[in-house]
Symmetry: D2
Subunit: 296 residues, 4 copies
Amino acid sequence: MRTLEGVIAPVPTPFNENGDLLLEKLQENINRLFTAGVHGVVLLGSNGEYVYLSEEEKRDVIRAGMEAVPKGKLGLAGCGCESTRETLRLIDYAYRCDAAAAMIVNPYYYKPSMTPNALLEHYRHLANFSPIPIMLYSVPKFTGLEIPAPVVAELSRHENVAGIKDSSGNVVALHELLLKCRPDFGILVGTGSALYAAMAVGIKGGVMALANVAPRETVRLWELCRDGHWEQARRLQARLLPVNTAVTVTYNIPGLKAAMDMIGSYGGPPRRPMLPPTQEEKTALRRILFEAELVL
Amino acid sequence: MRTLEGVIAPVPTPFNENGDLLLEKLQENINRLFTAGVHGVVLLGSNGEYVYLSEEEKRDVIRAGMEAVPKGKLGLAGCGCESTRETLRLIDYAYRCDAAAAMIVNPYYYKPSMTPNALLEHYRHLANFSPIPIMLYSVPKFTGLEIPAPVVAELSRHENVAGIKDSSGNVVALHELLLKCRPDFGILVGTGSALYAAMAVGIKGGVMALANVAPRETVRLWELCRDGHWEQARRLQARLLPVNTAVTVTYNIPGLKAAMDMIGSYGGPPRRPMLPPTQEEKTALRRILFEAELVL
Amino acid sequence: MRTLEGVIAPVPTPFNENGDLLLEKLQENINRLFTAGVHGVVLLGSNGEYVYLSEEEKRDVIRAGMEAVPKGKLGLAGCGCESTRETLRLIDYAYRCDAAAAMIVNPYYYKPSMTPNALLEHYRHLANFSPIPIMLYSVPKFTGLEIPAPVVAELSRHENVAGIKDSSGNVVALHELLLKCRPDFGILVGTGSALYAAMAVGIKGGVMALANVAPRETVRLWELCRDGHWEQARRLQARLLPVNTAVTVTYNIPGLKAAMDMIGSYGGPPRRPMLPPTQEEKTALRRILFEAELVL
Amino acid sequence: MRTLEGVIAPVPTPFNENGDLLLEKLQENINRLFTAGVHGVVLLGSNGEYVYLSEEEKRDVIRAGMEAVPKGKLGLAGCGCESTRETLRLIDYAYRCDAAAAMIVNPYYYKPSMTPNALLEHYRHLANFSPIPIMLYSVPKFTGLEIPAPVVAELSRHENVAGIKDSSGNVVALHELLLKCRPDFGILVGTGSALYAAMAVGIKGGVMALANVAPRETVRLWELCRDGHWEQARRLQARLLPVNTAVTVTYNIPGLKAAMDMIGSYGGPPRRPMLPPTQEEKTALRRILFEAELVL
């Protein structure tokens, strides 16, 4: 199993104005990212609007996206569905497309039923039957549910569980998790604002929307941290903080896509019911990119 | 458009031990419900584990379920998906199966983007293009998001929006909503514990899991309220409260299905990752049904 | 022990522009309330800004307020402090001022330590040592903590616990509580919006900010419910809903006080850090009172 | 104004078994802390059970505590009350006892009224009239309310606002705050689990319960961070994480006090309604201290 580390971009899914898939744009974006130095991509993460795609479209994105991942680079596919059986089916497809691992968001709709035990059984079943490693995915701001730390620690003992993307942004929790999981368990921070602090506590990489908008800078930040240049790293992190906040909190995915348009990638509109940013919001967003020296 | 009122059962989706659909059991359960006097059924609500079904399975359930709905009775189909386009596609299928209306849960994954305006545009688009009336569905305990009252009031002006199922259990909010919506807007309470109090404030019916376990009693409660026999109604509601709590809060959907098995319907197991109740839980559940005089 | 029932007004604490206590205004307000027919008053509830008063001021309010309560009417004193010993001390003072009972908000600052067991021991200790009956007070919108129903049920077995003011507004929870507590336990609804529905499920009264602004109407609503005139009661409740929302949710305590000024009682400014309503807010508030026929 | 930095211990308030204040024990504990090298103490923080004390007792603690603070060391006093006027009165007393600054928790009871504007006006009024600098205190786990970052940034422009204790444990938020506040604004992390990561992003110190149980180790951790020995610091932080979790999350203040008893300080019982740890909890706690090499 490949170690999960480095800068991994959770790529958005490009649509045209009618909301139809643009698979070539997806591949072009992926090419640009790898050219800029990122170490991997995740297809069909939250930034990929995976909940807005039909099953067939999910397959199209996985197939087209994986084709664009160069040999030796990490190509991960978001395969989490609410039911265990649907998830396994999508994992199987990802395996046939040569995904390095399947990222599995925890089921969350029936919150009161998603006890630690139910989550353990779900993930164990997937890990037992998946032909590729699985990566846990905890993103409480969307799911309203966290994978509890003891569940993660327990699952880290399973050889087919490669790691976790933790999007809580809680650096202390990442530090504690690191001490509880098996040594080579791939703990990835899920937000670009926390990359520096997460690496300071020993985390080895992240899956970060920011990498879609500032791939070179994010990779540079990762390298500075890896090499222990903490002072320079901290300054670069500070420069990128407002950008990350803009594309993940203030303007969300519609803002992330608009920012990609501004830097010369293809962002395009989000799918409905998400609304594109207003003109004022775009102006504010462009200013933030300008101040971070990402656009002229 | 048919007025939305009366006792409507959100029917569970029956699976065998392997998790495969049992469409005949679904039809038998629906038959039993109508024989017992319920006024309508909802397919693919939260109790129908709709998030666990593939698109194809959802169609199978709608088709088979609608076949079992007698002429003149209400057959509603849960068609809410995260994306506007997926939702419309499922609505179209429900229309072809003669659903009286499509129940549409609000999109909820991208919570910060689901502003009142985004929800308004989503529902308006659906209402404009749907060949059948739509019914809003707000169930914050699962979605973590409420359809704001002003959005509901605004949508109640649209002639193709038939009503709302509000599962918050907040009786005062139902009373306030009643005063803000158009007079014939079908406001339905979404939990059997609140039927009596909801009807006391002027609500005309409910979509209630309880109706799957105690259909005759729930219809009787509805009739007592309709006819102003408040004292009797209150006593019957009190008798049913522990049952409702058991099948919606304490033991959730797995408990609802187990209770259906106990009363002679087909409940069967939930789909994974939901876990069936333990033997102890079943014993406690049976005792609750016994004390409410629903089993011997 | 007097049965807790009827319309009880949680009286605000009047201040002048400098924030000093105006005890005479308090007494005049109380006189007006009893003249209008309310059955009781609570001093130092949340509407009484009790957290803004020094210990000495609390005593002044209890003494002056109780003096204004006519013989045979209910005069309750909010005595809840974070610590058990401080609470007991204030209860003793309330006893000496002839308070009929002491209202005790649950301690809430150290939320994780306020386990059901800790709350049980706290209230039991108070009930054992208090010379007057105590009334529980659960107001999660301010405290962030609810007194769990099993704790309330358990405490209702104690002969010196007279009842509870439940400000959650959850009518179904009130109904369930009613079935779990001893028959003469005084369960009071804590918000005027829910009075009608609460009485429909069997509750006997309420402690309601609304009673400060519309005392006659609130008493009339209570009487209509008591006498089973549900149709008239529902219409009156509907008329009062916007007023209650205004003085408890939209404009809070500053709005409640402003509304009291408008109807001819003394409201005055809230204490800092609470800010008085703006001129626009006052205009909107007056319009709501006008539409409910409470001002000309 | 003294710069707020270094290791500051929020000292518990010692009680005997009857719950009476033990001021000598407080002074002995403070002596031990300064002997162990801490840079300052806070009296009447959350760990000081300040909400359980009468006004007179608060004064006693401030007076006795400040007497024990050596010249040139930081002695801070928690003076936050719900009302602006009560807070000012306690600040005045702290000033007369030579407190270096007054720590002011944000008012939180009337959450909906505590708008950014209300908080700004409250703190500005205090800063304008306080004879000593004030330090903001945000502790959402107890108050249910955060001082919003823009409010903190705005207040950092006031020359009599010395800094903030932020107990959210959100390291990214601390990093962002650092970039928005005036350069010498004293931002202190409020939990020992985050000291290392907070200092990695540029924070200069903390107010940490941990310092009461492991003063030398906490100071050592601070020095390692200050001197850029990140690798050693990270290992020491890892060793202290379980202790911090135990005395702040798992066993809370009763656990903190029990741990102080175990290391030879005076902890004693918490005041009611908080309950002391059970024998099993104490055994588990001692084991955690033992594994961190804090007891034999």
